[in-house]
Amino acid sequence: MEQLAQERDRLLQASARGIGLLSLLASLVCLSFPGVLPLSTLLSTLPLFAITALCLTRLGSTRSLGWVVCGMAAGLGILAAVQLPLGTGGSSAVATSVVTLAGGGIAAFSIVLIRTLPRILLLAFGLTASTVLVELAAPGSGVISSQAATALLGWALCATFAYWLSASVPRAARQIHSIGRAHRAERQASETEAQRRQGARLLHDTVLATLTLLAHSGVGVAASALQQQAGDDARLLRQLRLGGTPVPQSSEHFNVDPVQETALGHTLESVKQRFGRMGLEVSWHGTGQVLLPSDVLDAFLLALAECLENVRRHAGVTDAHVTITDDETTVRAMVTDAGVGFSLDDIDSARLGFKDSVVGRLKEVGGNARLFSSPGSGTTVVLEVPR
């Protein structure tokens, strides 16, 4: 609102400058027409025109009242100067020539004079003074000459313009802020929805794995197994799409989110099936169902799947064992295989994606992973997460 108020003032100032300078120019052109004013009088008003123009120009960029007072004084000075000596009454042509000066050039200052009482008083003074001076310049006629009436009209129009422009700003601001509130709500909803989708990491992990197999045209995996896996994943994605309920952040439920409940009801079982299709038989031992917070469970299962993927790719065996144990503080999974193994010194653990995908994910939730292996005697990975 504060910035909008500043912008409003700038707009009013720029409008005042535009209207003022245009009117000033029109008036000067009229007065300069040969025969309207004696040359000496015209020349003597030129400095005053210059001052008024300068003040109007400055008005475009400053809120200072000094320029307004100075510009109004110079403008009124012109009105007086063109009809010197005062009281003798100018010609009708002169009076008409200064109408745009009084009703535009000087009245333009009123555009910045509507906010506070001192400014309004200054406006009233300028209005009265310029109308009276135009009236004095117009010879004869009744109550008010047409020239003075037009000058008065100019003041009325300028002040109405300024008032209306100012009054439109708070309306606009109110509407903008209600749109802003709607937008903030939308941002939060969007955030929650994205979190729900991103939170379904397990689901996306299997989708990504299947997509990667498809990216290699599905070579190396039985077509029927791949089809079944694709069907499972498509069903999961459809459920994610249809389920609009956001995930409770600290769900104590075993499942990652309610949408996946039916399909991932036996989470470990689905991991087993997935690897089964890809040719790795996984045997489970120990605790079957463990209750974990959803983010911990998520990390745990991802790390587990990553270890099994490593077994499938590198160990050269077709079966692996997973033993789950738990106590009051920790849930532990031991992944063992009787494969080729490797020397921990020879193979950079980063190459297996172990550090990022397994250790990193577990550390995020306060867990840890340890790797034991030597060539020829298989590999054991111990995964730990807090419960």
Binding site: E2, Q3, L4, E7, R10, L11, S15, I19, L22, S23, A26, C30, P34, G35, V36, S91, A93, T96, T100, G104, S146, A149, T150, A156, L157, W164, L165, S168, V169, A172, I176, H177, S178, I179, G180, A182, H183, R184, R187, S190, E193, A194, R197, Q198, H204, T210, L211, T212, L214, A215, H216, S217, G218, A223, A230, G231, A234, L237, L240, R241
Partner: protein
């Protein structure tokens, strides 16, 4: 993808920005703007249009009084009375249309209105032709110029300016043909032409600037909503984008499962699967890298053009809402605060974290924020910019290549302690 007019390369860099005011057309906020407009919330424009009508009415009253005072001079008052009746009828129809239709003014109605105004001018000129002084006697034709202002909100600038120029030409032609140009008559002619032609042009200028100002404010307010975002946020388009990718993956997997797509996959489809997997992977981690400030800059039309951000450690996310508000306002005012056309830009570099000097302050860390600018002279900076910067932290300003540079020491809670 219809609502998301942006393209991403593999690094996730936004290569094309959304137009308009940072509101995706399909989003709730975009709909909110459309919806609000439909219900007459024209962001102040409707009120401005009403003001234009009031100004026109004031001028019309003045014109009528002048006419009434001068009625004896007319050799034949019928044309001018007709002109006034026509004007009043057209103006009333126009006002009624704006009051009921709101923001829209159909072209046929506007064309009829212009035709009516042209007739008003013609009738008025016919009436005062024998008086041989257009400037002193024109009334309805001057008011017709003001009549153009009533459509200032609804019609494009060029139409109104075109009409004003036509009016100017009509006046000049009529004056040259009828009025002997002497020192006595010229001032009145010039004055009347100015009064008829300048106001609609000034109104067009003022209303356009008003609308631009309101758009800019809307942009700012919408971006302001990032201030309350969590440390890492996904941005307005992320969930739409993710939903799109999920759907594409679902369709592909479904067609494989149902056997519609034969295995092994054709190379083209395989590469589709590969790019889908890549995009999906990127979007799944996206929210964990980008902070509110990144989203603020990419979503805003104003900031997107002129501000760049380097925040490799995602440290902006650590700022509290007050600091964020200050930083966003400061950047905004530095780049948006120019009426000049010279383009000001700001580069914001956040981090790396300064080594701790005082070991007792384990609970906080100091994040240096450096704002370098181009085209922002030190003496043109709005004073409220400094107030905003002070909200972020202790700062020192200097001048680099004749443009402002600000170094801010921002103290934030240590994320390791929380």
């Amino acid at each position: 993808m219809s609502g998301a007019r942006r393209a991403e390369d593999l690094r996730g860099a936004v290569t094309e920005r959304r137009r308009l005011v940072g509101v995706p057309a399909q989003s709730t906020a975009g709909r909110a703007v459309v919806h609000a407009n439909a219900h007459g919330a024209t962001l102040g424009s409707a009120h401005l249009g009403l003001g234009a009508g009031v100004i026109c009415a004031i001028q019309a009253a003045h014109g009528l009084i002048t006419f009434a005072g001068n009625v004896d001079a007319y050799p034949n008052v019928v044309p001018v009375v007709l002109a006034w009746l026509l004007f009043i009828g057209a103006f009333a129809t126009m006002s009624l249309s704006i009051a009921t239709r709101g923001d829209r003014l159909p072209t046929w109605l506007f064309a009829s209105y212009l035709a009516a105004l042209a007739s008003v001018v013609a009738l008025d000129f016919v009436a005062i032709w024998p008086l041989q002084d257009i400037g002193s006697n024109a009334t309805a034709s001057v008011t017709a110029g003001f009549g153009l202002m009533t459509a200032v909100v609804q019609r494009p600038s060029r139409e109104l300016v075109g009409a004003a120029i036509a009016l100017f030409a009509a006046f000049v032609a009529a004056i040259l043909v009828t009025t002997p140009l002497t020192a006595e008559t010229v001032p009145a002619q010039l004055t009347v032409v100015s009064i008829a032609v300048f106001p609609p042009i000034v109104a067009v200028f003022a209303v356009r600037r008003f609308q631009r100002m309101v758009q800019l404010e809307l942009d700012r307010v919408l971006v302001q909503s990032t201030v309350s975002a969590p440390r890492f946020a996904v941005g307005m388009l992320a969930s739409e984008e993710l939903a799109r990718l999920d759907l594409a993956a679902e369709e592909l997997l479904d067609s494989v499962a149902s056997g519609r797509t034969a295995l092994p996959l054709r190379p083209k489809l395989a590469s589709t699967a590969a790019s889908l997997a890549t995009e999906l992977r990127l979007h799944l981690i996206e929210g964990r890298r980008e902070t509110w400030l990144y989203h603020a800059i990419t979503e805003s039309e104003q900031l997107g053009k002129s501000a760049t951000l380097k925040d490799t450690g995602s440290l902006a996310g650590l700022l509290d809402p007050r600091q964020r508000d200050g930083l966003l306002s400061a950047i905004w005012m530095l780049v948006a605060d120019k009426k000049k056309n010279l383009s000001s830009t700001a580069q914001v570099v956040i981090g790396p974290v300064l080594p701790r000097i005082d070991p007792s302050s384990r609970r906080t860390i100091t994040v240096p924020i450096v704002i370098t600018t181009t085209g922002v002279p030190r003496n043109r900076v709005d004073p409220s910019t400094w107030v905003a910067m002070a909200k972020v932290g202790r700062f020192a300003d200097s001048t680099e290549k004749s443009s402002l540079r600000v170094d801010i020491e921002c103290i934030v809670p240590n994320p390791a302690e929380h």
